[in-house]
Symmetry: C2
Subunit: 320 residues, 2 copies
């Protein structure tokens, strides 16, 4: 175990949950913006939030995913390293609120990693994941498709939550992801409410086949198959109605040469998978133009898959 | 195009459909017994059956999967090579009837391949598959998880039937399959009748995750993951009631070191995946003993995955 720190700051990337047919079970992390959490010892016992990272985010520790994750880390460690002690969290939020880019997961993971470092890193990645998952569950439901890639990086399949069993999938070299966020907000809980409780068997089996095909495509660098497998018949059809402009942006992406396109997480961000930077630029321009044509401003970027996941970016030594 | 033959004989292997969670979308071919179809020109126009291969199998061409496939090949070719001409089929059946080892699919594939060879091989594998699929649809429903591996060999994922899109998956070197057939018959149509029309969302997503995990496991030679992914929560729970002794045989297989175990196709054959011949022998003995203890005779064998698929085993030249 390493020596306890005075403060520790961790970063976790945003990403794309579901990746089309992989509802709740497939996710990837993206290079670029993410959430940063600085954890510092304070005199007041318990976890508190010094800065929630955004005026619309709660300051109550039991409602912010970073502090919820910090509390879950404290619970898991549970010994004299944290008993009766206090930690203050400062969140720097680069990811959009309710944007569908895994913002709550990134805050949770960064919070868990920062506090774990503050305690001398007693928890392994498995326990960190379970702590972050507990936090995510409070704010947007029990699913690890953002949490797992935010922590581990790459593209991750969640085979099972109970027991937790993750599969890290290969990332094809030329794969890029276009993310386009229109100027809307869609809370995960609302987007989940429209999901059907029961799925016709044929649809369920088709969806399973797409997930299998995606995994096969990633393992064999088959970009064409990867695109064909982005065929979500459970969430996309019902969420489309909540996402003005999505249908047009998707069509524009496909016409511009995207391999496949769907909703990132529960939206409103749309994503498209592309092969290579040229296709990326073309698809990004097309999606942006489509949202503009539907009367909406959008933020569009082209990103690689982040392979590193959450990382400690500062750690100040010193015994308390 | 090759010269038309006087007669042609084709073999197609049996196998395991579904492979656990891959209901209708995953299948593998097995070394060992299969069905053989000999096709010969006759003077009487149309397709007829000289020998259906088993006293319980129909002699009516529109009810036997081999002749149905032959007719589908004729339709697809549709020119002077078959117009007004007649073919007689002799089926040699090594696979059990209603056994869950892909018998109807093997007969259909062997029939299609034999008749195609008789015509000078005008159809490519894609068209042969679609012809065999049409035949299988008449006798046991529209699913390609037996047809595709019987034709192509190996382990196959069916991403889509419309349009037909197949993915051949890697076969781990030490993978063996134990198949145990108790002395029962279960018709595919009956076994399909018990399947739920609607699947709870959580179950559907779990099943999709297992399919993804199986594909990942095959691609990375992860035997442990492969076993954990054999977790079918759609078909196995409802079909178990139709299959006395299955639960015990599965438990015995797992206790003896199987990676995973489930129902082969729609049963009654049970299968277990194992790593290596020693485990194979142990698991085979355990499953056999379990069926005996439940008062049933069973036929148990350990087989490799067949990588060749259907093959022409004889072709007699000669213009008619």
């Amino acid at each position: 175990m390493t020596r306890a720190a005075r403060s520790a700051t961790a970063f976790a990337p945003g990403g794309v949950g579901n990746i089309g047919p992989g509802l709740d079970i497939l996710g990837l992390a993206l290079d670029g913006p993410g959430d940063t959490v600085k954890a510092e010892w304070t005199d007041e016992p318990g976890i508190r939030i010094a800065d929630p990272g955004h005026p619309e985010l709660p300051r109550e520790p039991e409602r912010h995913s970073a502090s919820l994750a910090a509390m879950a880390v404290f619970e898991r460690v549970g010994d004299e390293r944290c008993r009766g002690r206090g930690v203050s969290l400062t969140v720097k939020k680069q990811l959009p609120l309710s944007g569908g880019q895994g913002g709550s997961a990134a805050s949770a993971v960064a919070g868990a990693v920062a506090v774990n470092a503050l305690l001398g890193s007693p928890l392994d990645p498995f326990d960190l994941l379970s702590a972050a998952l507990e936090a995510e569950e409070h704010v947007s439901g029990r699913h690890a498709d953002n949490i797992a890639p935010a922590l581990l990086g790459g593209i991750v399949l969640i085979r099972s939550l109970e027991p937790l069993d993750l599969v890290r999938l290969p990332v094809p070299k030329e794969l890029l992801v276009v993310v386009a966020r229109p100027d809307q907000q869609l809370r995960t809980v609302e987007a989940r409410r429209v999901l059907p409780a029961e799925i016709p068997r044929a649809v369920a089996l088709h969806q399973a086949a797409q997930v299998g095909a995606m995994v096969a495509a990633l393992a064999s660098n088959d970009y064409g198959l990867l695109g064909r497998a982005i065929d979500d018949r459970i969430a996309e059809p019902v969420r489309m109605a909540l996402l003005p402009g999505f249908r047009e942006a998707k069509r524009a992406a496909m016409d511009a040469g995207a391999l496949g396109s769907s909703i990132s997480g529960s939206g409103p961000t749309a994503f498209a998978l592309v092969r290579g930077a040229e296709a990326g630029a073309r698809v990004a321009a097309a999606m942006s133009a489509a949202y503009t044509a539907s009367g909406q401003h959008s933020e569009v970027r082209v990103a690689k898959v982040d392979r590193a996941g959450a990382r400690l970016i500062r750690r100040n030594q010193g015994q308390r």
